[in-house]
């Protein structure tokens, strides 16, 4: 699956451009999350932080780790981790939140 190109320099330039753009997006998101943390929006402030974190993580996982063009088996492995983590969170928080509400 290696990219055949005319010259190593073109490949290098292409790689820098692709990954550099992703890095720039990550830096922008970092700046955004820093700024938004100081904006009082009630529950939206922490929520924004989480959403931006997911976006940054999404860029890293899909583009730097190339999950977007990985074969289905790899994506299944990644999904399995996410799904069961979600189960851990969902059912634990079901208990915690309902106990909190009952207090």
């Amino acid at each position: 699956m290696s990219m055949q190109s005319t010259h190593p320099h073109t490949t290098a330039w292409r790689l820098w451009r692709r990954n550099g753009l992703i890095w720039a997006a990550l830096m922008l998101l970092l700046a955004l999350t820093l700024v938004l943390a100081y904006v009082p929006m009630g529950w939206l402030t922490p929520a924004a932080g989480i959403v931006i974190a997911f976006s940054k993580a999404g860029l890293v996982i899909l583009l730097f780790m190339e999950l977007a063009k990985a074969r289905p088996l790899i994506r299944l492995a990644a999904m399995a981790g996410v799904v069961f983590l979600a189960v851990l969170f969902a059912l634990t928080l079901a208990d915690v939140l309902s106990r909190l509400a009952g207090r």
Binding site: L73, A80, G81, F84, V87, L88, L91, T92, A94, D95, V96, S98, R99, G102
Partner: protein, 557 residues
Amino acid sequence: MTDALLAGELPFPPRPDYLRDGTTLTSWLTTTDHKRIAILFAVTITMFFFMGGAAITAVRLELFTPNGGLLSSDTYNKLFSFHGIIMVWFFLVPSIPNTMGNFLLPLMIGAPDLAFPRLNLFSWYLTVAAGAVTVYALVAGGVDTGWTFYTPYSTMFSNSHVLAAAAGVFMVGFSSIATGVNFIATIHMLRAPGMTWFRLPLFVWAIYATSIIMVLASPVLAISLLLVMAERWLGLPIFDPARGGDPILFQHLFWFYSHPAVYIMVLPAMGVVSEIIPCFARRRIFGYDFMVYAMIAIAGIGFFVWGHHMFVSGQSAYANLIFSFLSFIIAVPSAIKVFNWTASLYRGQISFNSPMLYALGFVGLFTTGGLSGLFLASIPVDVHVTDTYFVVAHFHYIMVGGSVSAFFGGLHFWWPKVTGRMYPESWAKFAAILMYFGFNMTFLPQFFAGYLGMPRRYHTYPPEYQIYNVMSSSGAAVLAVAYLLPLGYFAWSLFYGGRAGKNPWDATGLEWTTTSPPPPQNFDRQPRVDRGPYDYHAEGQSAGLDPPEPQNSREVR
């Protein structure tokens, strides 16, 4: 005349089997051969088994009379804690996967080794190191929190060696993860040509499902213990309610692993039984596809039910409801498997060799244990019997009556393949039957004692429970003999047992097509698979008298 000679080929040059390929200690301690690593694991877990057994022998002696008097309460607590920790993490979890899984997985799929052989060796070293730390915890004075390390007792009040014990278990968890990754990669990437997913023996599917659980659940256990260690060692207030912490959070994290862990302990056993029953009933397994789906379902749903260990912990009623419902659901795939094993016997030509005795014992004892689990899934009943001997009996029926029986069944079934020797069958039959009776005598009374209210983890009890405890302790003595006997006759067989051929049971797996013991690279010829497993008879007919076709019938046998 072998087909090779008939075809005019030269016979293979003589080559040593894996046991004789390098006889120095170094060759064993630096091996990457999965078969040797399996043996290293087998020796290690046998040692742990007898350590855990010794601990509980002392406990059962104490419980022979209501006020025992042999042990102080502290010592008693430390002994049952050690028993639980050693038996769960250093015997049951690694038992079938790291011994039989390690040995058989590449053989059953026609591969020369596991995907990451050096990782396999690392797994063993990690287990040994972890075991050393845990045994140190015992020697230094023991831990008295129970194998469950509940907070805030373990973090704030216990005066025992919680840190060392938790550290040992933390380490062995990573051994589990490494093994799981290895097995999953192996099954995906190293199957022989023709070995499609639905031609895999059920043992391989069982190991696959187990490995998924190991990989995804063990890390959460690691964190739960890390937090306990941090709180104890650094005084951090994670589970201290007075400083904002939530002790029930520990239980969520602990049981998120420990419930799937019981499926780590039982799924490989189910896999072993699925190999033995077809062989000794001379039948294909009934409902192969649903056996696979059931195992995947058990592995998956097993992650959703952990709260049923927490019904009386203070967990919300809402969460209780969800967990109770899901716990009933998970009984269904297990029941499907029990029906299918039973149906596989229909129209069979059953021979009661010792592996078959263990396998049939598994089916009955696992069913009993599983049914008692349904009682526990029902919240009102659970409130009554939680923390009583009812629960103790429930999980011992499954772990010991189930998993340990299957472990012994597998040990007997594959012993000829692993060692090239046959064990004495009459002794084996005697031990199997003795185990069955000893087991029931030990644990059946505990159901009654528990239901009548005898609490667990107490070193004394009111006199009305004595009859049950006397029966239980006597049964334990019988069980101990039944466990020691195989140690004796297996050792004997290594020196004096008859030499085993390639396929002493006329079974159909790929492992039976290579020599006993196998060569270091597993097969002299690359196997090619052209049929499903368990091809013991033609469709719609009973098995004939001829040996069945193994899975690579086109290759020279």
